[in-house]
Symmetry: C2
Subunit: 367 residues, 2 copies
């Protein structure tokens, strides 16, 4: 593995000092910012995440803030999900598409108020798209990136740890809802959400200066819970079928191809960009779709490029994420498979750097 060269352009986060002190071993770059990928080892981090509680620096989930009279209108233009019933205090996973229905991002939107939204983005400059649309349509809305950095607390002991720092009321926050809580006199949005299947919270930390005090308070309060610095775990997220923009999908793919059709109410999402294209896709159905893929045999190496999926001599898809799962004792994978081979149990071959492997298409992910 090569080193990552430091520069200001790969932005540090309000929690970077804590991440470094905890012995981060590897990073990726996400929204022009450093995202830890490994502390002890990917496997050790994986087991610990499922047993204890971790604090994750996910400041890379930058926010695009929409504020003003046209904020709600712009938000609905960006996504085919119907937002009319959404209340302040709710989080929605919202596919964002361009005029042809191609995915530009797959963020979580938080409705703070009728005229104020945060879009917690995946790895692409959604700010530029939202600003361009707002400017082109002369909307009365302010679009920018506020000084907000999410910190996630994930794992089976997350609720206990959070209650110790923020009080018992945090236990009442329901899944994909958020509330306002205080830490050292500062208001923070806390949502029951996160990029794992182990349960937990995301704290939207406003103001970089309060980052390390909060990090330290969580570490302090969780000592007997075996709290540790962690990060989104490659194995666990594949087991749980959590998609990654740029890995598992790009702007070539529609939400329907990504298995996100259930988040599209394209008929009802009046004014959404890409509506014509997506109505057509919804009518015809996609010809390829995201699937769980069980790659048989020994552990595979890192998936740093698309691995072709074959059925004999016919190319029928690609694998975009893969890792060996200690719990399921197989290589768990995510891929895009053509409809001729996407049924549960379909047998295919995956061309990995370690050679051609037999594989099985699964309708459901592992957890």
């Amino acid at each position: 593995m090569a080193f990552i060269a430091p520069s200001r352009r790969l932005r540090r986060t309000p929690f970077s000092d804590g991440v470094e002190a905890a012995g981060v071993k590897a990073y990726t770059v996400y929204n022009h910012m450093l995202l830890p990928t490994m502390f002890r080892s990917v496997e050790e981090d994986y087991h610990h995440l499922k047993e204890a509680v971790q604090v994750w620096d996910v400041a890379v989930e930058r926010q695009v803030e929409l504020r003003g009279p046209d904020a709600g209108r712009l938000m609905q233009m960006l996504t085919p999900r119907d937002l009319r019933g959404m209340l302040p205090g709710q989080c929605y996973y919202v596919p964002i598409v361009d005029e042809t229905g191609g995915m530009l991002n797959d963020p979580v939107a938080l409705k703070l108020a009728e005229d104020r939204w945060w879009i917690s983005i995946a790895d692409s400059d959604l700010l530029y798209w939202a600003k361009g649309i707002a400017y082109g349509y002369r909307l009365d809305v302010l679009v920018d990136e506020p000084d907000v950095s999410p910190l996630a607390v994930q794992g089976p002991r997350a609720e206990e740890l959070m209650a110790r720092v923020f009080g018992d009321a945090v236990r009442d926050v329901r899944f994909f809802r958020f509330g306002w809580f205080q830490f050292e006199g500062r208001d923070m949005v806390i949502a029951r959400s996160g990029y794992s299947k182990q349960g937990g919270y995301e704290i939207y930390v406003e103001g970089g200066d309060i980052g390390m005090p909060l990090w330290n308070a969580l570490m302090e309060a969780g000592r007997d819970l075996d709290v540790h610095a962690g990060c989104p775990n490659l194995i666990e997220r594949i087991e749980g079928g959590l998609l990654s923009y740029g890995n598992d999908m790009t702007d070539d793919n529609t939400p329907h191809e990504c298995g996100l059709g259930r988040f599209c109410d394209t008929h009802l999402a009046i004014g959404c960009i890409g509506r014509d294209a997506l109505l057509r896709v919804a009518k015809e159905g996609p010809v390829q779709q995201i699937r769980a893929i069980d790659i048989l045999g020994d552990p595979v190496p890192s998936c740093d490029r698309w691995w072709p999926v074959w059925s004999g001599k016919k190319r029928v898809g690609r694998v975009s994420s893969a890792a060996y799962s200690p719990d399921f004792k197989t290589n768990v994978g995510i891929g895009m498979v053509r409809l001729s081979h996407w049924d549960d149990g379909d047998e295919v071959q995956v061309e990995t750097p370690a050679g051609m492997r037999d594989a099985i298409v699964r309708e459901k992910f592992w957890i």
Copy 2:
């Protein structure tokens, strides 16, 4: 230094196999793609770049293609530089700004034809901004990222090497002009340009499949010229005052603050976004500006965050890039300095991780 975690999201390039074979030691990430930053060592690469010739994988300079009847109109909307006199075959360095005059990117634009442009971008998803504007204004233009990957040939022996592979006609290409040349029957745009002050070319390689054959042909042909794989060199680019978007400027800065006022013809650039704001800035002048900064004393560590610049107890700027220069025997730096302290020879202090250092503001860069 930490490792960089491999994933498909950090895209490989058509030249990655060559880069790896040449022993790349470190990467950065740029436009969601891997950019080598070091082969032998930053110092060795630096001396070699100034003496011989290097082949650089700069595929990260992704292209935003504008094609169609409104391509020229959109291009002029994006930049305050007056494009009316620009001819096909020319390259222009074009600041791209938002409606408040904040820098969104600082690319080189290539005019391929009256209705076709490539914008060779710095590290931000300019594609999203251009697509948003085109959609909002209902322009008759196609905006996308084509399969084009620049390969740079830089250094004093670049012309000789290029002539061996593309023929002597390549010697006649003037600075910031381009022509069409053939390699193995394939047309390629070749410009006299590049992110160094050592002279050379950028080859716009269309189609990933021809990447490694071209890489290998250049290495083969340049054996006796001591050709080596290289990359943009931190020391050399600071000496030459080549700015880096995300390091030395962000969307908070106007082109005038970045010393790019000479590329703004805001009065004449009719229709350009941000015109009102930039006319105001041009009238009043900026209150801070990019300067060369000579940081005295021993070599400084990597500049991975802004270093405050002080005049006594008053904060007067920041340093964003710095490295020890073997040729100039000082720490060369780039920073943004307030007008009270930006004159040639002004003495300031820079707060580095290695302690407070005396420094001198310079009007001119080193080369």
